[in-house]
């Protein structure tokens, strides 16, 4: 479990890093979409387009049941992985909600993959998603 939360922190940090300190919802939406695209690019060659879309849908469903407050937002999204629709939903949120939405969705997707193929292979397959943006990341997120 500790590796998982560590990875979750990494995802949150990576998102925060991409968004920057004073971002509006539009740049938050762009950052979330960019990470999803990177995950897609890493996984689709291996598990196929259908495989990745299925993971994405399942993650949305899990997010909706875990956070009823956001259920309406998640459910308003189309069945296919449509990043434009996703971004347009995110920009309607407040800054805080948009960021929270992204963090939950990305960590859920990561954890879902972990339950299926284990932490080490998940980390291996998705390592490229976070690495470039984290290279100069400050470590304030990992305060003891």
């Amino acid at each position: 479990m500790s590796t998982l939360s560590e990875e979750s922190r990494r995802i949150v940090a990576s998102l925060a890093h991409r968004v920057g300190p004073h971002a509006d919802t539009a740049s938050i939406a762009e950052a979330i979409a960019a990470i999803l695209q990177a995950m897609d690019a890493a996984l689709t060659p291996i598990i196929g387009q259908h495989g990745f879309v299925a993971l994405y849908r399942r993650s949305l469903h899990l997010c909706a049941s875990a956070h009823p407050r956001l259920a309406g937002t998640y459910e308003s999204l189309p069945a296919a992985m449509d990043l434009i629709a996703l971004k347009s939903v995110i920009v309607e949120q407040t800054d805080i909600d948009a960021l929270f939405f992204g963090e939950v969705l990305l960590t859920t997707l990561y954890e879902l993959l972990t339950t299926l193929i284990g932490p080490s292979l998940t980390a291996r397959l998705l390592s490229g998603v976070w690495e470039p943006s984290l290279s100069d990341s400050p470590s304030q997120e990992n305060s003891p």
């Binding site: 689709t44 060659p45 291996i46 598990i47 196929g48 387009q49 259908h50 495989g51 299926l116 193929i117 284990g118 080490s120 292979l121 980390a123 291996r124 397959l125």
Partner: protein
């Protein structure tokens, strides 16, 4: 100087497979791994891939329709050989499901070729090839020419110096599938089910340019992966018996005498007798005597309640490492598997004495599918063991049938170099035991029927019962001469 091409042979890393293949897998060969669902095709492919792939010699694993890649990754991780670190490093998975769904073989081939050109793999896997075949059948597409697809794939992969594996199922051996002609190697996996027992078997139906070991070879799938039980290859010539004959002490002085000075080294000895006659005690004494002389031994037990836990001497020897124990409770054993376990222990301990207790239990432990060939198998085992230079003592339950003089069930008596028979006889309302050396090949031996007893200190051989006759009938009578006198 030789100008002929040298074909490198890759060590697959699958225990026993290289032996069966006749020395490994030819480099740049185009192979088919076939068999029904659940027979271990994908596992075999993965084990070979993880063993052979390196950053310099990477592998491409194309998943076509069939097992979803997520599930495959999930389940293959359960094996020890699976190394997450290798993924996207020396091993790359590529999903071709969408291309296959479109049903255009030309497009599938184009994708495979473009990925191969990008990554220059040394190893290429296509799982499962069956779905490629199905895709070609479902579409009424003039471009879908399966023989041509296979032909081109085979040619391209060889040209690109890639050793290739197509993984397929449901093929019937009598099919005139074009792939059988194109493939350099056909590895066929089977599950043989008889009654309630299942045995996995592997056959190399074809492997160009190599002396493969013919026939069906059993294998198991466990956490370390697949293990093939290749038959032991015997050295062609049997060494002539060294003279003077080197003999082993049995641990019972009188018995050594009866054998003409002990059991000749490298002999196989069958101890046959009814239940409770002391066969296991004699076997334990044989091992203990070896240990006393600084020799090590191996015992294979095939009993429901193994005797070694009741025999203090034997359990001490096992605990102290002087005797190796082969006590496989695995169901559905094959002879080759047992021989491998025995030889493994013999090599590990440099053992010189081997006991198999008992053949009757051994027969029960062997999967039903092998029982028909039990005699042949037993003969192979005895030959394999004695060829390795050890002396073998086997016990055999012998129902007391006083009307005939039989030494072993299964007609195995001819297989062994020496035979000791134990019997019960009735004398003056007591059950006495007698023992005789029936056979000791190329060695003078006693022809005496000797009474013996068993107590806490082991087995003691006494005298003959000269005044009795008809001992082998079980109900001896006093000799007529003394009857007349009396």
């Amino acid at each position: 100087m030789s100008t002929k091409v040298t074909i490198n042979r890759l060590a697959t890393g699958v225990p026993g497979l290289d032996e069966v293949l006749g020395g490994g897998l030819p480099e740049f060969s185009f192979n088919l791994i076939a068999g029904p669902p659940g027979c271990g095709k994908t596992t075999l492919a993965h084990q070979i891939m993880f063993n052979l792939a390196t950053p310099e010699r990477p592998a491409l694993f194309f998943t076509v329709l069939g097992e979803p890649p997520l599930k495959m990754l999930r389940y293959q991780q359960q094996f020890d050989f699976f190394d997450s670190e290798a993924i996207n490093h020396s091993i790359r998975y590529i999903n071709l499901a969408d291309d296959t769904l479109a049903g255009d073989l030309d497009e599938v081939l184009r994708r495979i070729v473009s990925e191969v050109e990008t990554h220059s793999p040394a190893l290429v896997f296509v799982d499962s090839f069956r779905s490629v075949v199905l895709a070609s059948q479902t579409q009424d597409n003039p471009n879908n020419n399966l023989p041509q697809f296979v032909q081109q794939l085979g040619m391209l992969m060889t040209t690109w110096q890639a050793t290739t594996f197509l993984i397929g199922e449901y093929f019937t051996e009598t099919d005139t599938n074009p792939i059988f002609t194109v493939a350099d190697g056909l590895i066929w996996l089977r599950q043989s089910v008889q009654r309630n027992s299942m045995v996995r078997k592997l056959e190399i139906m074809k492997m160009r340019g190599q002396p493969t070991l013919p026939g069906l070879h059993t294998f198991r799938i466990a956490t370390p992966g697949i293990k093939v039980f290749a038959p032991v290859v015997l050295s062609p010539a049997e060494l002539p018996q060294a003279l003077p004959i080197n003999r082993l002490k049995m641990g019972v002085a009188q018995l050594d005498e009866m054998l003409g000075g002990g059991l000749p080294r490298g002999y196989s000895l069958l101890v046959a007798g009814p239940s409770g006659s002391g066969k296991s005690i004699l076997a334990a004494t044989f091992l203990a005597e070896g240990a006393r002389n600084g020799e090590t031994g191996v015992i294979a037990v095939f009993e429901q309640r193994p005797n070694h836990s009741q025999n203090a001497t034997l359990s001490d020897l096992i605990r102290s490492g002087k005797v190796g124990l082969v006590d496989s409770r695995a169901p559905d054993l094959s002879i080759d598997e047992i021989v491998q376990m025995l030889l493994g222990e013999i090599t590990r301990l440099k053992a010189t004495r081997v006991v198999i207790d008992s053949l009757s239990g051994f027969e029960l432990a062997v999967a039903p599918t092998f029982r028909e060939d039990f005699r042949e198998s037993l003969s192979r085992m005895v030959t394999a063991l004695t060829h390795s230079g050890v002396s073998v003592l086997m016990t055999s339950e012998l129902e007391d049938r006083y009307t005939d003089l039989r030494f072993s069930p299964y007609g195995t008596a001819f297989l062994t170099d020496a035979i000791i028979v134990q019997r019960y006889i009735e004398v003056e309302s007591r059950l006495l035991r007698i023992m005789a050396v029936v056979k000791a090949r190329a060695s003078a031996h006693s022809d005496e029927l000797r009474q013996y007893s068993i107590d806490d200190n082991g087995l003691h051989i006494g005298d003959m019962l000269p005044e009795q006759e008809g001992l082998l009938g079980g109900r001896p009578t006093r000799q007529r001469l003394s009857n007349v006198d009396g």
